[in-house]
Every structure is written in structure tokens, then in C-alpha cells.
Symmetry: C2
Subunit: 210 residues, 2 copies
């Protein structure tokens, strides 16, 4: 289930509303029988990133007992630094690993999307740390196109861009990850086409490039 | 003077052409009496980032003696991770600091643009390292708008976005930087307006927010 989060807010009331919304989303995730709630952690243009990061940690700490009680895993998804203004102040795998390790729980881990992480010079070592530590809960693939024409909705099919998916999948699986590999392609272009054709393209791209 | 660089290429001929172009640009920089050539280091969608980074280091090593002979400083500019596909494989201040320190020269340093670096969780410590080590050669300001509508040409005036310029300027100057603070705003919107009006806006924004 994706996505709640968005913990940072300019007021205490806003932070409490986010915590309540996340608890409700945990309930809904449990009701659906889904195992995992993906957290897009949030950021506020008017808040310093250090403050947003603190509020994210406090927000997760506030909902984690409810997730544990419901048997739902929470996955911290680091987002690409181009989303640091308003979508997430957690922008590297290292930050997500730090949070998951510090707040250690069987019901807290990391959601790993190549689109957000591929550029990171520390990716190999942080992937090993995440996967071998048991914190890698989900693995998402797509590709980064050149040129990218929209900050949110111009992801590419696997193989259409510059991400070395074989290499990254190798790192993830070398660390012991055995879960699903999920395809996540936010794209105005692909969403506009016949979705059965799109599905065929996804399957072909997956077989060749993942 | 800005910008050459673009060292990574798919062929040896391409890499040699980049080195020749950079040497010519060093000559032109000297002819103009400018002290500094800014290096946008380059990236190639078909090359792994680790390989691009190696080629960047080799390219800089190949032109550095010419820069030293001409009395021109070279400034490695780390670019935002959203440009890692085709503009630069150097995406954090830490990477630029590593390169500048490893290839130590009075004629090699780092160009620091808040637009590229503001999101980095290591920014404070890497800024101190860069400035106090004498490697901070230029300091550029603008702002990151919410929403940002174009990956290249939608920068904001200082104060229009989420970057804490007072804080970053403090870190830069605490490290001993005494050079110019340059305003660099790539923007379709601002480039379309009367440039004298734009200059007035820049001066007002600088006084209030830098």
C-alpha cells in the first residue's frame, strides 16, 4: 500500500493530523491484507531539512507501535533529491538506513526505488547494508530517461534510460533480498496509451533489462 | 569563465576531443583575463557513473598542467543528482572535495552552487571541509522553487524558494571564503523579462535573502 507519510508540518496540529492519517492508513492496509505501507516521508518548503528530518523520525516513532500491533510493515522510501523541497527530506539510502537501524523494529524498513537512488556514489555499500541487515522491504524498478522532461511523470521503461538495472539488482540480491521486483513507472506518456499494450511493453522490458 | 568539462565519452577519440577543447578554453580564459574556468564535468547515459567519474579524474589530470602554466584555476562544479544522466557524474560536494584533495593543486578547486547542493545531508561538514581547505573557489546563489516546472530553466530568485541562503552563506564564510557571491538564475521566465527590471529584482532579493 502506498503512500502515506508526509510527517513534517509547520504546526503541531499539522503534525498530529499526519500521524492520525498514517494510523488510519495502517488500518486500511491491514483491512486489505497488504503487508506493507510505503512512507513518502514529506518535506515542507518553509522548514529546514534538519527540522523536517527530526519531525519525520518523531512521526514514524509515533505510528510504529500501531503498525506493530496491526502486523503491518512500514517502509521508509528515500526520494530523489529533486523532491527535497516538498515531497521528502529523506533523499539518500544512507539516511533511510540510519533511520531504520536507529528505530529498529521487525515492522520498519526501507523501500528501494532505483529511480530515486541510482546516482548515489554510496549506493553499492548502502545497498549491501540495507539488504544484508534485513531492512530492504521492497524493490522498485523503472529507468531514467535522457532527456527527462517532467520532474514527476516522465519515468522510462526499463532499458530506455541510463540506470544499470542488472548491476543494482545484483547488489540487492547479493544482500539476500528475495522479495518481489516491482515495476513503477510514473509517466504521462505511458499512462495515456492502451494499458494492455503498456503491460506488454513492461513485460518485454523486464525480461530484457532487469 | 563557464563552462567546459564534459570529459566522459564513449570513445578514446571523444575523450581526447574533450581534453583539447578544455585546453583551448583555458587559453581563452587566460586571454580574457578571467581567473577561473568552471568545469561541468559531464556524464554519458551509456557509461556507468563509476566509469564516468574515472574519466573525469583522468581528464582533469590531463589539463591541469596547462591550467597551471597559464595561471588559470579550474573549478569542479558538483551538479544536482537530477543531472547525473548527461551533465555531470559529480553530484555531491563530497565527491568534488575528494577529487580536489586527491589531485591537490593551487589551481584546482570547487565551484559551489546552492541550487545543486542545498539538499545534501552532509552539506554542513563538506562545506567546512571545502572552504577551510582552501578549495572553495566560487559561490553561486539562487533559489529552488516549489513547484519547479523545468529541470534546467526554472530557478528562482533568492527568497522565492526553500533554500536557507543565510545559513549556507554562514557556513561558507565561517570556513574562510572571502570571494564574490555570484547570482546565477537559469530561468525561461526571468530571461524573458526586461533585463534591467530583472537586475533590480536580483539586487532587492540579494539584499533581503543572502
Amino acid at each position: 500500500m502506498c503512500a502515506e507519510g508526509f510527517f513534517p508540518a509547520l504546526t503541531a496540529g499539522g503534525r498530529k493530523a499526519a500521524i492520525d492519517a498514517n494510523k488510519k492508513m495502517i488500518d486500511e492496509t491491514a483491512e486489505l491484507g497488504a503487508p506493507l505501507l510505503v512512507l513518502v516521508c514529506g518535506a515542507q518548503p518553509g522548514l529546514a531539512l534538519t527540522e523536517s528530518r527530526q519531525q519525520i523520525q518523531e512521526g514514524i516513532a509515533a505510528i510504529l507501535p500501531h503498525a506493530e500491533a496491526c502486523g503491518i510493515q512500514l517502509g521508509i522510501e528515500p526520494l530523489h533529491p529533486m523532491y527535497a523541497d516538498s515531497r521528502s527530506a529523506i533523499n539518500t539510502l544512507e539516511q533511510a538506513n540510519d533511520l531504520a537501524e536507529e528505530m529498529h523494529s521487525d515492522f520498519l524498513g526501507v523501500v528501494y526505488d532505483v529511480y530515486h537512488l541510482w546516482w548515489d556514489p554510496r549506493l553499492r555499500s548502502e545497498t549491501a547494508r540495507c539488504a544484508s541487515g534485513g531492512n530492504l522491504l521492497a524493490f522498485h524498478v523503472c529507468d531514467w530517461k535522457t532527456p527527462t522532461e517532467d520532474l514527476l511523470l516522465d519515468r522510462g521503461l526499463m532499458g530506455e534510460g541510463c540506470i544499470d538495472l542488472h548491476q543494482i539488482r545484483g547488489w540487492v540480491e547479493d544482500g539476500g533480498y528475495k522479495g518481489f521486483i516491482e515495476v513503477e513507472i510514473f509517466s504521462k506518456k505511458y499512462w495515456a496509451m492502451d494499458q494492455y499494450v503498456f503491460l506488454d511493453l513492461i513485460m518485454a522490458a523486464y525480461r530484457s533489462h532487469v
